[in-house]
């Protein structure tokens, strides 16, 4: 059982460096912590006064929480887009980056769970959702499937990262049986994760806007666009603030993925728009509300056209050779992330409720409190991801290894932790 000791030692040493860094690092952590606390404060208000402090109503009964949840499930899926090229197409440029992707997935899933919890009216009774302990409506409810796929994916990500990092720490070659099956499982799992989340909406016969078979494929296409786009940005941040080397080649491989996914995403969107507007049946009402407004209500029109313009611009940029330069690639990625966040979040969840099944058109606008809670959850996720990276990068760069366990872990000169000693360029 010596591996348990070694593992615990690695964890202890990693956790010890979690807060080491220069003032910029501390400023970043401090800022995130403050936003987290502001979010917690807003959540305490919501606990005290109920979900009445949100903009939701019986008419639009899900809002930004579930919108963000839906988007973040897509981000979690991104990890698999790093896994597939590495293990199926043997692309070495990305092999280490799988760890960063899986960590991002773990952080995104934790944010998803947080967004679900803040959406609950009775969060303290969420133990009813625990299989065998509560009363789990499996396989009937798609939400129970979601509980399984979310938590399962979280465990898979943590296991894969944990094992790969441990191997690096002990300087041994990962044993195929210990992880390849799990990686392959995580590929299937990631796709089912997003499919199940789409089915959450698709399965509702009383909501024609969601009750469409194309929602699932659109979810996957948009996830495979926005997820790797986030990874492209995250990797550049990592290589900027740490000594960890990430080649441009790896980023350009990801560009190819984002490029193809975005084209498919736009094509599927066009399919949906054609079906809705050419048929022009009563079921077009929600899409009409979203794109053009209905009976004088236009709350989402500005949002969705922003998304359309951003996504189309991103698509053009990604197709042009210009985006082989990082500057244009980054612009395309940022546009795609924002565009898809709007489209998958507000653009998918809200119009499903409008008009209501009894034909009322009631707008939804998130309140300040609701927005602060959402920012709090995002800050919580970023904080987690930062700490995860801070603790794992030294192992990957060889600063923390089993071999140097008996040497002092404190960096030679205070203030220049390994994370920060690369000069800014």
């Amino acid at each position: 059982m010596s591996w348990i000791k070694t593992y615990a030692q690695m964890l202890r040493r990693c956790i010890r460096v979690a807060l080491d860094g220069d003032w910029r690092y501390h400023l970043w952590l401090g800022a995130l912590a403050i936003v987290c606390l502001i979010g917690l404060n807003a959540y305490a208000k919501q606990l005290a006064y109920g979900l009445a402090v949100t903009g939701m109503s019986d008419h639009v009964s899900w809002g930004v929480y579930i919108a963000n949840f839906t988007f973040l499930v897509g981000v979690a899926d991104a990890a698999v887009m790093l896994v597939i090229p590495v293990y199926i197409y043997k692309n070495k440029a990305l092999s280490d980056l799988v760890i960063f992707g899986q960590l991002l997935a773990a952080a995104a899933i934790l944010m998803c769970l947080a967004f679900v919890v803040v959406d609950l009216g009775q969060p303290f009774k969420s133990w009813h959702l625990i299989p065998f302990v509560g009363k789990f409506n499996f396989p009937g409810s798609m939400l129970s499937w979601d509980v399984i796929v979310l938590n399962g994916y979280l465990l898979l990500s943590i296991y894969i990262c944990g094992y790969l990092i441990y191997c690096r720490y002990t300087n041994q070659q990962p044993k195929a049986w210990f992880w390849i099956p799990f990686v392959l499982l995580s590929v299937v799992w990631a796709i089912s994760l997003h499919a199940v989340t789409a089915f959450l909406y698709v399965g509702l016969g009383g909501r024609p806007f969601w009750n469409s078979a194309i929602v699932g494929p659109r979810f996957i296409a948009s996830a495979f666009t926005s997820g790797p786009a986030i990874v492209i940005i995250a990797l550049q941040v990592i290589r900027f603030v740490t000594r960890y080397q990430i080649s441009d080649k790896a980023l350009l491989t990801l560009r190819a993925i984002v490029q193809v996914s975005m084209l498919i995403n736009i094509f599927l969107l066009a399919n949906e728009l054609f079906k809705e507007f050419y048929t022009d049946s009563l079921h077009v009402a929600s899409a009409k509300y979203l794109y053009f407004g209905l009976h004088g209500h236009h709350a989402l029109v500005g949002w969705i056209w922003t998304a359309v313009v951003f996504n189309l611009t991103a698509m053009v940029l990604l197709v042009l050779p210009a985006s082989t330069s990082l500057r244009w690639l980054n612009l395309a990625c940022v546009l795609a992330i924002i565009g898809i966040w709007i489209e998958k979040g507000m653009g998918l969840v809200i119009p499903g409720f409008i008009p209501t099944p009894l034909g009322e058109v009631i707008d939804y606008q998130p309140t300040l409190n609701e927005t602060l809670i959402s920012f709090g959850v995002w800050a919580f996720g970023l904080l987690l991801y930062t700490l995860m990276l801070r603790t794992t990068v030294p192992v990957l760069t060889g600063d923390i290894t089993q071999a140097n366990a008996s040497q002092p872990t404190t960096p030679p000169t205070p203030g220049t932790a390994p994370l920060q000693d690369k000069p800014a360029h």
């Binding site: 000791k5 009363k135 399965g203």
Partner: protein, 319 residues
């Protein structure tokens, strides 16, 4: 995880000045932790306004269908106690069970309904529905003649001048579907269909995810966005566990065909109050009941038949 003593020590003190450094970093960590805790406490301050904290009993309470009669007895005693404390009225809380050989069906005569909304208000009074924020189980639509498109209907029409020329009125409430999408989607089985066809909610088991609200094609479910409030003098003390007992904030509720009345052989409140006799209710398994007659002889239809929910709520015309 064991932390053995003979482990190669990961943190060896720095050779010189280590003690002082350790003390300083200890003080710094302490100050950081203290201010962190203070900030945490400050951010949680709004919880002081939490005036409906859940008892341990309620937190640990089992699902309705898993409780023994003794456990149910204790729960009813707890609810009685809580209602008495909050409303200063002693309620009669019972767990009304479905009757054998009974399947309830509702039929509503669209030729007669004049849209007076008396049913809406009778329902509010009978079922202890919150008046602030306002919750109503029945929604009446004023529809222009010649269409069935509900987007053309009006919800906020003036009830004082009904019926208006050229319009018909369509009340909608829970349709107690035989194939209820709301039951299917509930992740914790907090809502289910009973043998007499009524779909009920265990308010103490609901986690408030509102998936059922999204699933219902008839907009029949309501969520307690805030703590419901019923004036003390208007509280109906005749209560049922699965029916009209006071709800808590953060749970879903819905029309239950006045379970506390109909399972005791009475009519629903909305039917009793109706001045036009548009509402008919009864046991479809009884061939001599009024609803059996209507379903056999009238021009009957259900709302949104295409969604396959098989409602037990029928509309009909008799002219």
């Amino acid at each position: 995880m064991p932390t053995p003593m003979n482990n190669p020590a990961p943190a060896t003190p720095a050779p010189d000045g280590g003690d002082r450094l350790n003390r300083r970093s200890f003080l710094r960590c302490g100050a950081l932790a203290a201010s962190g805790l203070a900030a945490l406490a400050a951010s949680l301050a709004p919880l002081r306004d939490l005036n409906d904290t859940m008892s341990v009993e309620e937190f640990l309470q089992k699902h309705y269908q898993e409780m023994t009669p003794e456990e149910m007895g204790k729960v009813l005693a707890r609810i009685t106690r809580e209602v008495e404390k909050q409303y200063e009225v002693r309620p009669h809380v019972k767990d009304y069970k479905p009757m054998d050989g009974v399947e309830f069906v509702y039929a509503l005569n669209l030729s007669r309904c004049i849209g007076c909304r008396k049913c809406v208000h009778a329902c509010v009074a009978e079922n202890n529905l919150s008046q602030d924020p306002e919750i109503q189980y029945i929604r009446v639509l004023e529809m222009p003649n010649g269409t069935f498109d509900m987007e053309k209907g009006r919800h906020d029409y003036d009830g004082g001048t009904v019926p208006r020329e050229g319009h018909y009125y369509m009340p909608v409430q829970c349709h107690q579907c035989k194939n209820p999408p709301c039951v299917k989607v509930c992740p914790v089985k907090a809502t289910w269909q009973e043998s007499d066809g009524i779909t009920v909610v265990d308010y103490d088991w609901c986690i408030g995810c509102r998936y059922c609200e999204a699933a219902c094609p008839y907009w029949a479910r309501r969520f307690n966005f805030a703590r419901p409030s019923v004036p003390k003098e208007r509280l109906n003390p005749n209560m049922s566990y699965l029916g009209n007992r006071p709800r808590q904030k953060g749970v879903v509720e819905k029309c239950h065909f006045c379970i506390q009345r109909t399972r005791a052989g009475r009519y629903p409140a909305c039917l009793e109050i109706c001045p036009t006799g548009s509402r008919k209710f009864g046991n479809i398994l009884d061939p001599d009941s009024a609803v059996s007659y209507i379903l056999k002889h009238k021009r009957v239809f259900v709302l949104k038949e295409e969604v396959g929910t098989l409602p037990r709520f029928f509309y009909y015309f008799d002219v």
